[in-house]
């Protein structure tokens, strides 16, 4: 019975479980709990006033608008990137595939600065754009660019992954059956992307709502103009405006949880239909 002897020396299975739970408690459950408890102590009225004050509403409007724009553009880009990277053969394809993930690794603050070098008042394109009255930095277009940059990988990555995994045979089959390129895309490729797109949409929205560094640098967190939910929370904390800080945090937290649950559900469903 050598197996039994060996297993008695191993740490019991619950040891690892406790380790994982402790880790999660410290870094996940505790802050969420604190947020919940403090919000409760702050009182519903104060939270409501914090959420509904004009600056908060503007910040929320900006954040949700940015998330919506990011979702729409990234869905279109994700489909295109999937078709190009997972279906076409060309030199540099692998490089492009890797580049799409770069925004995941880069610091958003650094990226924000890089964009200022391009679009800033003395940047490469800034002076030229200002001739037409277009201002990118410290205005809403800057927020859009910042958000798009940090969200670009999510949908594209999911779509590329799914298309590579599924392979081209279904599309070839559609072609032998007489389908045109468009019919093949519409009836075969796109439905196969559906799960990937839904996941990508949720992740993109969550990331867009949560972004801080890039939108802070490129938007400048200007009161009455370029605040997003996150930069406004930052400012509110600074100004000891607890109602707004906790209220918006709660709104963002609930949105994120809802989006993540949605992703899980969609993943599970996409997995079933394999």
């Amino acid at each position: 019975m050598p197996d039994l002897a060996a297993s008695s020396k191993r740490p019991p299975p619950w040891a690892l479980r406790i380790l994982v739970l402790t880790y999660l408690t410290i870094f996940l459950f505790a802050p969420l709990l604190a947020l919940g408890v403090e919000s409760f102590r702050e009182g519903a009225l104060s939270l409501w006033q914090g959420i509904t004050e004009p600056e908060s509403l503007l910040a929320l409007r900006n954040s949700f608008l940015l998330a919506a724009i990011a979702v729409v553009l990234n869905v279109l880009f994700g489909i295109a990137a999937g078709l190009v990277i997972a279906r076409q053969r060309f030199w540099g394809r692998a490089l492009l595939d890797g580049l799409i993930e770069v925004p995941l690794a880069l610091s958003p603050v650094m990226v924000g600065l890089a964009f200022i070098l391009i679009f800033g008042r003395t940047g490469w394109l800034g002076p030229w754009l200002s001739q037409f009255g277009v201002r990118v930095i410290f205005s809403f277009p800057g927020l859009i660019i910042a958000t798009l940059f940090v969200t670009v990988p999510f949908t594209a990555r999911e779509v590329i992954h799914v298309l590579s995994e599924i392979g081209e045979e279904e599309e070839m089959a559609a072609t032998t059956l007489g389908a045109s390129r468009w019919q093949t895309f519409w009836h075969v490729t796109l439905p196969n992307m559906r799960g990937a797109l839904s996941c990508g949409i949720s992740l993109t929205a969550a990331r867009a709502l949560g972004e801080f560094g890039a939108v802070l640098i490129m938007g400048g967190a200007i009161t009455g103009s370029t605040h997003t939910a996150t930069t406004w929370i930052f400012t509110a904390v600074d100004e000891r405006n607890n109602g707004a800080a906790l209220g918006l945090s709660l709104v963002l937290g609930l949105c994120s949880v809802a989006l993540l649950l949605l992703v899980e559900k969609l993943r599970a469903r996409a997995h079933e239909r394999r």
């Binding site: 045979e169 279904e170 032998t176 007489g178």
Partner: protein
């Protein structure tokens, strides 16, 4: 619709996948492309369908060149090795797809789909999704889908590669019957010799991108054109020897050889069923092992001075009388094929 392929070539980078292949399948034939994996069979099939572009050479379907015709206009039914069913569509939608994209009227489409499902024994599965079907059922859906738009040509890539042996045999017989009922010309790709020889009217053996031999199954079996063919079909023993007086000696076993001058070096290919073993006290060979393979017995022996040889006999064959591991035997070669030694 007959198929004529002339001088087809295809490279993938430095790898020559198809090397100057010409072949022909007559209208109404069921032909098999047989050969080892990676030999270029599937690539040829894909080029006939237009899924792969040939580097050079021509494909004629029904007497017309189709090299510049798009796959969707070739009216070819293609069955993929892993079925390639549309995973998000029901069986019904899968089978009707070729009719939908060609804008066939709804009632006509429904009638044809039902007809195909009935023909394929799939009635009752209309609303199922591919992942709710067994391998054999998926294969039949794939066939139904390919046949629904009434293709002139049916191409099947390893059609039974992904189902287990028993279902494989059943599907094979069933494909043969189906082919005979429909007015269609078919080519199927396989690496299974038994499948090719038992189902096809014509067998084309492809290896290393080249057409080794094509013809009726019995001709391929009995008249191998090359040493490769002699060794490829069935299980064969191979010996090198030199011809003297119309006989090549393998150890002390004399093998009659025709058509070679005295002194020429030959390579002998002897199939495992073209041999007789019999017990002989001072015989030239010794039996090592006897493997009981169901209805057959495989006998491993070695010829002194020449090396191992094996033969197969029916289980109850009188040729096995008295033969056991360790005994000495005599060997009679009933049929050997000799090729000039390369």
């Amino acid at each position: 619709m007959g198929i004529v392929v002339e001088h087809l070539c295809k490279r993938f980078g430095d790898f020559v996948a198809v090397d100057d292949v010409s072949l022909r399948v007559e209208r109404g034939q069921l032909a098999a492309m047989l050969g080892p994996s990676g030999g270029g069979k599937s690539t040829i099939l894909r080029m006939i369908a237009g899924l792969e572009k040939a580097d050079s050479g021509t494909v004629e379907l029904g007497g017309a060149r189709v090299d510049h015709m798009h796959t969707r206009d070739r009216q070819v039914g293609f069955v993929f090795q892993h079925y390639a069913l549309f995973r998000h569509m029901t069986v019904e939608k899968n089978v009707g797809f070729g009719l939908s994209v060609r804008k066939v009227p709804e009632d006509e489409k429904r009638a044809r789909v039902n007809e195909m499902l009935k023909l394929m024994n799939l009635t009752g599965f209309e609303k199922r999704y591919p992942d709710q079907l067994s391998g054999g059922q998926r294969q039949r859906v794939a066939l139904a889908r390919a046949l629904a738009p009434r293709p002139r040509l049916l191409l099947l890539d390893e059609p039974f590669g992904a189902v287990d042996a028993k279902v494989r045999e059943e599907l094979g017989r069933w494909l043969r019957n189906l082919h005979d009922e429909l007015d269609v010309t078919s080519i199927f790709v396989t690496h299974d010799q038994e499948e090719a020889f038992s189902l096809a009217d014509k067998v084309m053996v492809i290896a290393k991108g080249r057409l080794e031999q094509s013809g009726q199954p019995v001709d391929i079996l009995d008249q191998p054109a090359t040493e490769f063919m002699a060794r490829f079909v069935g299980d064969a023993n191979v010996f090198d020897s030199v011809v003297r007086d119309g006989v090549a000696l393998v150890g002390r076993v004399a093998v009659p050889v025709r058509g070679f001058e005295d002194g020429s070096a030959v390579r002998l290919v002897i199939r495992s069923y073209d041999l007789k073993f019999f017990k002989q006290e001072d015989g030239p060979a010794i039996v090592h092992r006897m493997l009981y393979l169901g209805d057959r017995v495989k006998v491993d022996a070695s010829i002194e001075g020449a090396g191992p040889i094996f033969a197969q006999f029916p289980r109850r064959s009188s040729l096995l009388r008295g033969i056991e591991p360790g005994c000495r035997i005599g060997i009679e070669v009933t049929l050997a094929r000799a090729f000039a030694k390369p």
